[in-house]
Symmetry: C2
Subunit: 327 residues, 2 copies
């Protein structure tokens, strides 16, 4: 039976994909399980967006539905060619709410420099959906030999994040009913293709990129570590977390490393390119707080967190429901 | 407020798109409102599938979710490059039901000669969706100068259908609770790219293609007529409808011309190519009952049905809810 945890992006999600999707649909491209599928010089990606509530500090469902998809294209180094959007609307949805969501999509698409070129609208009876669900798909083109991929991460790589972590997940949780945290947070949801372009322009040899959405930075690092067969070591003190986000996580019992982001990315770059990469990222407002958090080494695939006292804790793939319906 | 009719594919759907989507998202490609968007030599399309029930005679949600999307690519003359599929699952869905749906998708994709290369899975709480919704997007490539488009239909064109109409919609209705028609019907859901290839191989100059899904053949003819500025005249006696489907439509109060199909297409071809086109279609099992149903003429955009007694009735765009959640 399907459980909420099957949608968490963690271990149950991976089991669902491995046992119920890949055996039947399996093909080499799908099995890569990258942020986007790569076919020749084209990149294809799709995501369903079901976030609740639909409006949250710093963004809304519409902005999320565009940014999440263009960011997946950016993570394989692709420039967007066009987006499509399919809407499932619940009978009774207020038209002005739909208008606000569509306006947000249009604004985010402009920021990302892409257009929504095809769409579909279905309506289901009252009670058969929760207001509005949007599935956004994207097609992009790979340019030159810039081909980051999780399996290309290598021992010796520097591990970078492009800014503070946990902002999106905490912002969404903060405005759910019964959690008295409103006002102090804003989602980071933004199109981050420009950050990838900054690395490209600085001629950084980017090995791997991932946008740490469901499952957070921990999940992204673990996925890259397993794809590349490297062990990642990160320094707890180096991880940028806003004080209010850290406080909220403590209150709610979440580890910021596992909380979703929607305007950040993790990058693995050669040691020799690390400083140049950080400088390039900091040159863009969305990367102002870019920093190095660790190093990839040879060893069993996995990820260790080194605490300020020097203790070493192995990060585990989250197994259940972290932040339900966070994206 | 969103009404069921906004998802019917008829007049309310068109108003929703014209008033609430195009003004904000508008761009030249989206405004074409074709079955697929065309950007350079690429075709992009997306559709959300919410059919209820999920299993019906002749098919299921999974088969529909693949066929509907590859057929939209075929309607602009594109050959599929890859599909993506995003699943919204309701907590509590039985895994064996999901397995059956995914197996159907795999089988339909094999028939269509395409692979599902990327996917996404989200889970929503019990009651926040109706079992499973699938959004399938597709990317295809246009080949040569074969570029059918609704606006290319021309006065003098022969109007063809590739087989009997109404089968899908009636099959879905037949297995809904309380409608005692089970057993006599089967959906026509199938990938029909091969029919387009047959026309291409026979060097038919295809002006316009459309797969008459929501809103049926009537809606497709009206959309082509308005896009091209032609008047279409169809002969009621020439329209192929299975006797059982006709009987069911009479019982249910539906006009087969407005009932959804999922394995047929309407084609506008020059008079000189009409016989060759029909012969080419009949050479394929899915086109065995292909036939000519009418002619495009100069005149006010619209569509007339000529009855066996010679009376002429103007077809109107359906305004409300025809067959809710039919695709």
């Amino acid at each position: 039976m399907i459980l909420m945890g099957h949608g968490s992006g963690g271990r149950l999600s991976q089991e669902l994909i491995a046992k119920h999707f890949l055996p039947k649909l399996g093909n080499g491209v799908l099995a890569e399980l990258g942020d986007s599928a790569v076919i020749g010089d084209l990149a294809l990606t799709t995501d369903a967006y079901v976030v609740s509530p639909r409006f949250f500090p710093g963004g809304d469902l519409g902005r999320l539905a565009v940014c999440g998809t263009v960011n997946d294209l950016a993570m394989v180094g692709a420039r967007p060619i066009g987006l499509t959007a399919a809407f499932i609307l619940e009978e009774g949805l207020a038209l002005d709410e739909l208008d606000r969501i569509v306006a947000s999509m249009a604004e985010a698409a402009r920021e990302a420099g892409v257009e929504i070129v095809a769409g579909d609208t279905k309506v289901v009876a009252r009670g058969a959906a929760d207001g509005v669900f949007i599935t956004t798909s994207g097609v992009g083109r790979l340019v030159g030999d810039f081909r980051p991929a999780p399996r290309r991460a290598a021992a010796g790589d520097a591990v970078l994040v492009s800014g503070t972590i946990g902002d999106h997940g905490v912002a969404v949780m903060s405005c759910r009913k019964g959690i008295p945290l409103e006002g102090a947070f804003a989602s980071d949801v933004a199109p981050i293709g420009a950050l990838v372009e900054a690395l490209r322009a600085a001629r950084v040899e980017v090995h791997a990129l991932r946008d740490p959405t469901r499952g957070g930075v921990a999940q992204s690092l673990l996925e890259i570590a397993h794809a590349a067969g490297v062990r990642v070591s990160i320094d707890e003190r180096a991880i940028p977390v806003k004080p209010a986000v850290r406080a909220a996580c403590e209150l709610l019992g979440f580890d910021p490393l596992y909380v979703a982001n929607e305007g950040k990315r993790v990058a693995f770059v050669p040691e020799a390119d690390a400083d140049r990469a950080i400088a390039a990222l900091r040159g863009h407002p969305l990367g102002a707080r870019a920093t190095r958090i660790g190093t990839a080494t040879a060893g069993d695939p996995g990820c260790d967190l080194v605490t300020p006292l020097g203790a070493r804790r192995s990060l585990r793939m989250a197994s259940g429901e972290l932040l339900p319906r966070i994206c």
